[in-house]
């Protein structure tokens, strides 16, 4: 299943809830303010890194760029995708769950 998260983990618990409930093998896409979770050295970095052992984490590249988060500020192993990649993830997964 594809999970999309759009809230900053510093504003909302939706990422934490998503990571807690997502089954192993899930794809998790960070969009909008949720891309702040892709930054290294923050209070949620270890939570995201431990989720990466069971799920694949993606982040929307244009939302990262809009917030000045370059690859040097990111947790390594997070996959960058464009909107075309977002669509591809929605196609390859049989369901899309939006954590609003």
């Amino acid at each position: 299943m594809l999970h999309t998260v759009n809230k900053s983990p510093f504003d909302s618990h939706s990422l934490q809830t998503c990571l807690g409930l997502a089954k192993a093998g899930s794809d998790i896409l960070l969009i909008e303010d949720a891309v702040y979770a892709a930054m290294s050295g923050t209070a949620v970095t270890s939570m995201v890194e431990s989720a990466m052992s069971s799920s694949t984490i993606y982040a929307l590249e244009s939302d990262l760029r809009a917030r000045g988060i370059g690859s040097e500020k990111m947790i390594s192993g997070i996959n960058l995708v464009g909107y075309d990649g977002f669509v591809e993830l929605a196609v390859t997964n049989d369901k899309v769950q939006s954590w609003l």
Partner: protein, 130 residues
Amino acid sequence: MKFSVMVNEGPYTHQAADTAYHFTRAVLDAGHEIFRIFFYHDGVHNGTRLTTPPQDDRHIVDRWSELAHDHDIDLVVCVAAAQRRGILDKEEAKRNGKDGDNIAPGFRISGLGQLIEAGIEADRLVVFGD
């Protein structure tokens, strides 16, 4: 593949109306079909033609109307959410005794059944909101 999209946030609020639009464009660019876009809650504000943003800003409402025109996409506004927020077509305006309507071209007002159908008919339903 057939997609439906649901938009639950108004334009110029956070980012959902923009994300939903760019996602829809990418769906069409990849050769997939959009069965319907359903606007619910504050998302109904995406469907008023009275929206007048500054000229150097994107026009979110016109963008939807153009997309509907160019790709023959069904844009549906939830009637109950629309009435609460003052989004009216000619018929609704007349029925409620209002002095005008404001629905944007390409949008139509209908009920939640359209959302259920969008979920059943499409292979994927993707939700954007706040």
